[in-house]
C-alpha cells in the first residue's frame, strides 16, 4: 500500500531564451511526499520554488520527468483532465489571496464547488468558513475584511473540496506578523487533523513551522531535512498577545 500523494521523478522545466540559450527553472527534481506531511519548500526569489509548486499543483506542465499525484500519472493528462485533478485533489492558497472582488466570502468559497459535481455547495462553503473561524464574516466582501481574514477565506476556499493536498505559495507574504502567525497556526491545526500541506516561502522562520524543509537553489534541491522541532505558531501568537495585553490594560 503506497501512502505517498506526490511522487516526482527528474522533474525539469526548461524555458528557451532567445538565441538558443536555455534556462532551467526546475532541474532534475525528484521528491516524494507522504499523506499527512507538512512540507516547506524554501528558496530565494528566482530559485524555482514557485515553478516547482505550480508543476506539483498541476497549474503548469513540466518539460521533462514524471509526476504522480495520488498514484495517477499527471504528466500525460490533457488540460481538461488536469482541471479535474486540480478541482478534486488540490487546494491553492496564494500570496495575494486572489479573492473575487465585490463577491462575499461565502460565494468566494463556493467557487471551486461551482465546477464540481457537488450539489450542496452553500452548506459546504459555510462549514469551511466556520472551520477557519469566520462564522461571523460569511456575508462580508473582501474589501470589508482584514488581510488575515481574507487569507482565511482563501484557505476555506482551498479546503472546501476536501482535497488531498493544499499548496500555499507565500501565504504570509502580504500579512503582518500577527496575521502571519494566525495563518501558520491554522495550517498547523489542519495538518494535525491529517491534511497534507506544501508551503512555499522564502522566509526561514516561516518555513520552520513545517515538519520537513526542502531547500531549493537554481532549480535544484540542495537539502531535504526533517524539522524535528517545528515552531508552534499558536504558542508564538499567545506570547505576542500576552506582551500586548498589559499595555492595553494599563
Amino acid at each position: 500500500m503506497n501512502n505517498s500523494v506526490i511522487q516526482a521523478v527528474n522533474l525539469t522545466k526548461v524555458y528557451n531564451k532567445g538565441g538558443g540559450g536555455e534556462v532551467y527553472a526546475v532541474h532534475d527534481v525528484s521528491l516524494e511526499i507522504q499523506k499527512g506531511e507538512y512540507v516547506a519548500i524554501m528558496g530565494a526569489s528566482g530559485s524555482g520554488k514557485s515553478t516547482l509548486m505550480n508543476i506539483l499543483g498541476c497549474l503548469d506542465k513540466p518539460t521533462g520527468g514524471s509526476l504522480k499525484l495520488d498514484d495517477v500519472e499527471v504528466g500525460t493528462l490533457t488540460d481538461e483532465e488536469l482541471a479535474r485533478v486540480r478541482n478534486r485533489k488540490i487546494g491553492f492558497v496564494f500570496q495575494s489571496f486572489n479573492l473575487l472582488a465585490r463577491t462575499n466570502a461565502l460565494e468566494n468559497v463556493e467557487l471551486p464547488l461551482i465546477y464540481s459535481d457537488r450539489t450542496d455547495i452553500t452548506r459546504l462553503a459555510r462549514e469551511a468558513l466556520v472551520s477557519v473561524g469566520l462564522a461571523d464574516r460569511i456575508h462580508h466582501n473582501p474589501g470589508e475584511l482584514s488581510g488575515g481574514q481574507q487569507q482565511r477565506v482563501a484557505i476555506a476556499r482551498a479546503l472546501v473540496t476536501d482535497p488531498e493536498i493544499i499548496f500555499a505559495d507565500e501565504p504570509t507574504g502580504n500579512l503582518d506578523t500577527r496575521s502571519s502567525l494566525e495563518i501558520m497556526s491554522l495550517f498547523q491545526q489542519l495538518n494535525a487533523k491529517g491534511r497534507t500541506i506544501v508551503l512555499v516561502t522564502h522566509e526561514a522562520d516561516i518555513s520552520e513551522h513545517a515538519r520537513r524543509i526542502i531547500k531549493i537553489a537554481d532549480g535544484r534541491i540542495i537539502s531535504d531535512e526533517v524539522n524535528s522541532q517545528p515552531r508552534d505558531a499558536g504558542r508564538e501568537m499567545s506570547a505576542l498577545v500576552s506582551k500586548e495585553v498589559p499595555n492595553e490594560n494599563r
Binding site: D60, R86, F92, L111, I114, I121
Partner: protein, 405 residues
C-alpha cells in the same frame, strides 16, 4: 446543475459591472427597437393591403380611363377622355365572365347648399348597377333607378357625412339641395362605409345619375371608371385580356400603340402595394441590420476588454478546476444575456414606438408574434456571435499565465 451555476456566475458578473453591462446593451436596444418598428410597420402595411383588396372585392376589377393609372391615385393634368358609357355596355354584352358593370364619373370638388348651410363634397355620377357591383346600397330611401338614368333626373343620394353636415339628425329625404347651381331632390341616404384605404372619407359623397352628371353638372361625354364584377374570381387574367382586346378594338387602337385605359385586378393591386411596402421595408431593415451589427461590434469589443481585465479571475477559476467549456459558457452567457435583455427591452420600446408612430402618421402598425420572435432570435444571435471570440480567448488562457497578470 453545473450549467445553472455557470449561468448564475455570468449574471453575477454582469451585475458587478453595471456601467459596462449598460454600454453593451444600449446598441442592441436601439437595433431591436428599429427592427421591431420595421416589422410592425411592414405587417401593418400588409394588413392594409388585404383590407383594401377585400373592400374592393376579390371578384372585381377596375377599368380606368387613361394609361398607367393606379388605384386611389388622383388624376394628374388633363383627364383622360377615352372611356365612354358605350364601352361599359359593350363589355357587359360581349365578355361572358362579366356579371355586371358599374360605370361612373366624378366631380372632385362640388359646393353643396341646403338653405343657409353649405359643404364641399365629391359628386359621383353612377348607374343603378353601382349598388350590386360595390355591394353598397341606400340605407334610407332609394338608390338611383333606371328611370332616373334615362330621364336625366335631378335626384341625389347622400353619403352619411354629407347628411350629418347639412341636416344633422333631421330626415333629409324629399328635401331640395343645390349642387353648384342645379337643384336636386334627395331620395336616399347611403350605408356608411368609413375611411377608404387611401385615407379619404368614403361617406363624404353625393350620388346622382351618371347621365345627369355628364349633361347638367360637368358637361362631358366620357366617364372615368368602369368597375367590373365577375361571375368568378378564377381566370382573372384571361378576362382582363378579353376586356383589353374589346376596348382596343372599340377605341380603334393600331397594333403597337399603347392602351388608352388601364385595367387593375385585385392581384395587381396586392402586388403593387407589396412592391411599394417592400422597397420601404428593405430600406428600413437595412437600417435595423446596420444598427444591430454595430451593436454587436460594441458588445464584442467590450467583452474582449472585459476578458483582458479579468485575466486574474479567469486564471483563478481555472486554477480551482473550471474547464475550458465552463469559462467559454460563462462569457457566452454574459454576452447573450446582455443582448437578449437588450432585445426584450428593444421589443417593448419598438412596440410602444409603433403605437406612437401609428398615432402620429395614421399608418397602421401591427405587433405580431413574428416581430417578437425576430427580435428574440436576432438579439440572441448577435450575443452568440459577438461573444464567441472573447469567450474563446478567455477559455484559452492558461491558469498560470492568467494568475500572473
Amino acid at each position: 446543475m453545473k450549467t445553472g451555476r455557470v449561468l448564475k456566475v455570468a449574471f453575477k458578473g454582469l451585475g458587478r459591472n453595471k456601467l459596462r453591462t449598460f454600454l453593451m446593451m444600449i446598441g442592441i436596444v436601439i437595433g431591436i427597437t428599429a427592427l421591431t418598428l420595421v416589422v410592425s410597420a411592414g405587417m401593418g402595411a400588409q394588413d392594409r393591403i388585404m383590407e383594401r383588396v377585400k373592400k374592393f372585392g376579390l371578384e372585381s376589377m377596375m377599368v380606368f380611363a387613361g394609361a398607367g393609372r393606379e388605384m386611389g391615385q388622383p388624376t394628374a393634368g388633363q383627364p383622360a377622355t377615352s372611356l365612354k358609357l358605350e364601352d361599359a355596355v359593350a363589355m357587359k354584352q360581349e365578355v361572358r365572365a362579366i356579371a355586371d358593370v358599374a360605370p361612373f364619373n366624378q366631380k372632385r370638388q362640388a359646393d353643396v347648399k341646403f338653405q343657409d348651410k353649405s359643404t364641399t363634397t365629391m359628386v359621383f355620377g353612377v348607374t343603378p348597377s353601382w349598388a350590386p357591383v360595390w355591394d353598397w346600397d341606400a340605407a334610407e330611401g332609394d338608390f338611383i333607378s333606371d328611370e332616373d338614368l334615362t330621364g336625366l333626373a335631378r335626384v341625389c343620394v347622400l353619403g352619411p357625412t354629407v347628411k350629418r353636415e347639412l341636416f344633422g339628425t333631421a330626415n333629409p329625404i324629399g328635401e331640395q339641395l343645390r349642387i353648384g347651381n342645379v337643384q336636386f331632390e334627395i331620395k336616399g341616404v347611403m350605408q356608411a362605409k368609413g375611411t377608404s384605404p387611401a385615407g379619404g372619407d368614403m361617406d363624404n359623397r353625393i350620388y346622382i345619375p351618371l347621365t345627369t352628371l355628364m349633361r347638367r353638372v360637368t358637361n362631358v361625354d366620357y366617364i372615368s371608371n368602369i368597375k367590373v364584377r365577375l361571375t368568378t374570381a378564377k381566370d382573372m387574367d384571361k378576362t382582363a385580356a378579353s376586356i383589353q382586346a374589346l376596348l382596343r378594338e372599340r377605341h380603334k387602337l393600331a397594333p403597337g400603340t399603347p392602351d388608352d385605359f388601364t385595367i387593375t385586378t385585385p392581384t395587381e393591386v396586392t402586388k403593387m402595394a407589396e412592391k411599394v411596402a417592400g422597397t420601404f421595408n428593405i430600406f428600413l431593415a437595412l437600417v435595423a441590420a446596420i444598427s444591430l451589427i454595430s451593436g454587436g461590434v460594441v458588445v464584442a469589443n467590450i467583452m474582449l476588454i472585459s476578458v483582458n481585465e479579468r485575466r486574474k479571475e479567469i486564471g483563478l477559476r481555472k486554477a480551482v478546476g473550471a474547464q475550458r467549456k465552463d469559462i467559454m459558457l460563462q462569457f457566452l452567457y454574459e454576452a447573450t444575456a446582455v443582448t437578449l435583455t437588450g432585445g426584450v427591452i428593444g421589443i417593448i420600446l419598438g412596440a410602444i414606438g409603433a403605437k406612437i408612430l401609428e398615432a402620429i402618421t395614421q399608418m397602421p402598425t401591427s405587433i405580431s408574434w413574428e416581430s417578437v420572435a425576430l427580435g428574440v432570435v436576432f438579439s440572441s444571435l448577435v450575443g452568440i456571435i459577438a461573444g464567441l471570440q472573447p469567450a474563446r480567448r478567455a477559455a484559452a488562457l492558461q491558469p498560470i499565465e492568467a494568475m500572473r497578470a
